[in-house]
Subunit: 169 residues, 2 copies
DNA sequence: GCCCTTTTCTTGACCAGTTCAAGAAAGGGG
DNA sequence: CCCCTTTCTTGAACTGGTCAAGAAAAGGGC
């Protein structure tokens, strides 16, 4: 019995239900999963699970403070169980992969705006944009190919674009 | 003649068109406008302007480097002309107001992740979440009203649970 | 253990923001 | 001024996500 997870839910003031346990399990396995990934993965344990149920569960988790929602620009929302430590994220521009980064300064709020313009700031969210190791390798390989293509010239193009494996989760 | 703005467009390698000049004007007036605001405002100068044209223009601007797109979680994308200085943003949780903040450390990339996990980072985006002055005032006024209501009322239970302030940072 | 109330899940419609596609119109170099 | 290219208009479509109503199931009291 997943008493541990049941406990986590109860601790958070949430009823223990199959969909919630399933989603919790998926989040434990996929530290930065989007709703769709969660639906798909959670259906292994609970086939009838609906997307709306997942949205509801996720909203409950976020509301109860056991999950955090992150929304990198241009990507669907991602959810993670690591909460309360104000860590930040590295996002790969080409494949969307996400990695955690500990808070730069340590404590939260980790950053203070130089001039808060009258705002009361309660969170500083940092997103580091860049390219993950895999995509760097791929990009390097591709640029080599382009070079070769130029050398060989007048041969038909090898369409390698759209490789984009979903290494998001 | 808006030679200045025409020049800005040409400088950026863009053709000068009426929709573009209109959008450029709106962005100059509204430093953090969303697509819808831009459409509405730009129609004062160019009534037949379509939303799709605006999306196209904005994409062109961003591509040409004369505008920047920001996407605060849970809000439509906003566009600003201030580019190239890697400044950051304060976002009001209750009304969505946005204010610019100069880069905390000065130069861009202003922050270096403690451990980049193999990523090559090219930008550090910081969003400060909080409450703007207006909303603070409003919230204060509202809490006073609630307090009065409690005092006047015949001692209904003062439900204080679920306060759970989002002190996530 | 069973009932009852409340919460949650299922099913299905709907919405906002944005993108895609095809043809018409406008920019601007020659 | 013409022609080619880019851009805009019009209209449809798509994605990620929300809303609403009824069915199901959680779990406290008996």
């Amino acid at each position: 019995m997943e008493t541990t997870r049941e406990h986590e839910l109860r601790e958070a003031g949430l009823r223990v239900t199959r969909p919630r346990l399933a989603v919790l399990g998926v989040l434990a396995d996929h530290p930065h999963a989007d709703a769709d990934t969660i639906v798909t993965a959670a259906r292994e344990q609970h086939p009838s699970l609906s997307p709306q149920a997942v949205y509801g569960v996720l909203k409950a988790f976020v509301g109860a403070g056991i999950a955090r929602r992150i929304e990198p620009a241009g990507a669907p929302a991602l959810f993670e169980l690591r909460v309360g430590d104000n860590h930040h994220h590295l996002v790969c521009r080409s494949c969307g992969a996400i990695a955690d980064v500990d808070c730069v300064v340590g404590a939260s709020p980790c950053l203070k705006p130089s001039d808060a313009a009258g705002f009361v700031v309660d969170e500083a969210e940092v997103v580091f944009w860049g390219m993950c190791r895999d995509c760097q390798v791929e990009a390097a390989a591709e640029s080599v190919q382009i070079e070769e293509r130029h050398l060989n010239e007048e041969h038909d193009m090898i369409e390698e674009h759209d490789i984009r494996e979903g290494a998001r989760a």
